[in-house]
């Protein structure tokens, strides 16, 4: 698991990779916290290279969504493969977190 992030005009695009599970969810959380600042307008988290996310990883997504909501930073996820999309659908997380097909769609949705 790792995160690569770039920032342009207050929008952070973070790309995670590998498996996100209870063995590295803490690291995932601290890396995610490190790439985004309260002053950022939006965070787009790209799942293209993520192979698996467990409930421990979903919890980090939830914590991130809640803290970004407090700082008024928009948050969107994108580019999930079908099995991960299904995890977000079954858990109902797609009802509270924006998910888009592509990075371009996510960026335009957050107004970048």
């Amino acid at each position: 698991m790792g995160i690569n992030a770039e920032r342009a005009d207050g929008t952070v695009i973070a790309k995670a990779d590998g498996r996100i599970d209870s063995s590295n969810s803490r690291e995932f959380h601290s890396e995610l916290e490190a790439v985004v600042a309260d002053s950022d307008a939006a965070l787009v988290l790209d799942f293209e290279d993520v192979a698996y996310i467990s409930s421990a990883g979903m919890r980090v997504i939830l914590l991130t969504a809640k803290s970004l909501q407090k700082s008024g930073t928009k948050f969107a996820l994108c580019s999930m493969d079908d099995s991960i999309r299904e995890v977000f659908k079954i858990s109902g997380f797609d009802k509270i977190i924006e998910i888009h097909q592509s990075q371009a769609e996510a960026l335009s949705a957050v107004g970048a």
Binding site: S22, S55, L63, S83, V87, I90, G92, F93, I96
Partner: protein
Amino acid sequence: MTTTESGQKHKILVVDDEPDLEPLMLQRMRRYIRTGVYEFVFARNGVEALEALDMDESIDMVLSDINMPKMDGLTLLERIPDVAPDIRAVIISAYGDMKNIRIAMNRGAFDFVTKPVDFDDLKFTIDRTLQHIREWREALSARDKLVVLQNELNVASMMQQSILPNKFARNNDYKLFGTMQPARNVGGDFFDVVGLSDGKVGLAIADVSGKGVPAALFMMSSRTLLKGAAMRADGPGEALSEVNDVLNEDNDACMFVTMIYAVYDPETGELTYADGGHDPPLVVHADGSTTQLPVTEGLALGVLPGFDYHQHSHRLEPGDTVVLYTDGVTEAINSEEEQLGLHRLREAFEQNPPQDAEDAGHRVIDLVNDFAGDVPQFDDTTCLVLRREA
């Protein structure tokens, strides 16, 4: 890290019957004694050395001659573990006395120096020995911490096992069976069976986010809340809504639990269920064909207060088997890193319809174990089965 950098004084017990060694050692090592790196204490033979080790727990290492009256250095080596098991000894031997050096090493000496003593080499040997002792102590302390952690995990694991029903009502209308195969690092799966009024029965299966002690605690409160809500609530949707609202109070840790809660009415064969962000029930018909029941568009519990959970009803036919499972089943991984997937579960039942509820439950666990092979699984594998008999 050298002794100097550690900033800690090390006490070295020197054992030799030659009275000359003590002043020589104090003189040649004076710089390190003055700066507080070493402190030397002396004994004249093995008996005195054992007494000193027994009296003074702050001694870090022993530097001993071999030939001494009363008790020689080789015998001392054998006895040290009885009084001070974590101490390391360095032997001073005559030059070229390989026989005694071999015996000393075989008896657990950490290293040796030869006479006449080269004090630069001795300093190096002492530092190397002390470095080893520090690392050894760190490893011991890490091991102790691990044991504490392991004990906590064992408590969490026992808690998890102890709340699961292990006797299932058997009657002519329906049969129940549930089983959980825990992951190595304690997940947070549970299932429950609740007797309700009018002969109805409540069935719950759940998966708490994360692992270990926090997951186990969250699991306990979820299960207790559900039991209470199941008795009071008018249907599964209302029960989940109630549990969700309570779980959302003071949930700064953002823990959550996915859950199916279903109520079966043996009078009508009607199964009414609500999903809290959990895989919907799978119905296996008598001929082995399967139907996945629709989701009720729920959300994991503990995520959003005030969420309105809906429910859905499905009529079971005699011979139908409802399989509730956690994602430890469908997300089991094989050596090729493939997921087991719902399709393999359905295929397994299609090829070989279950004989009864217990057979269906065992078949789910067997399927996971056969699929996973030697690959360690990181999630609990849990299923709860109801079969309508009549």
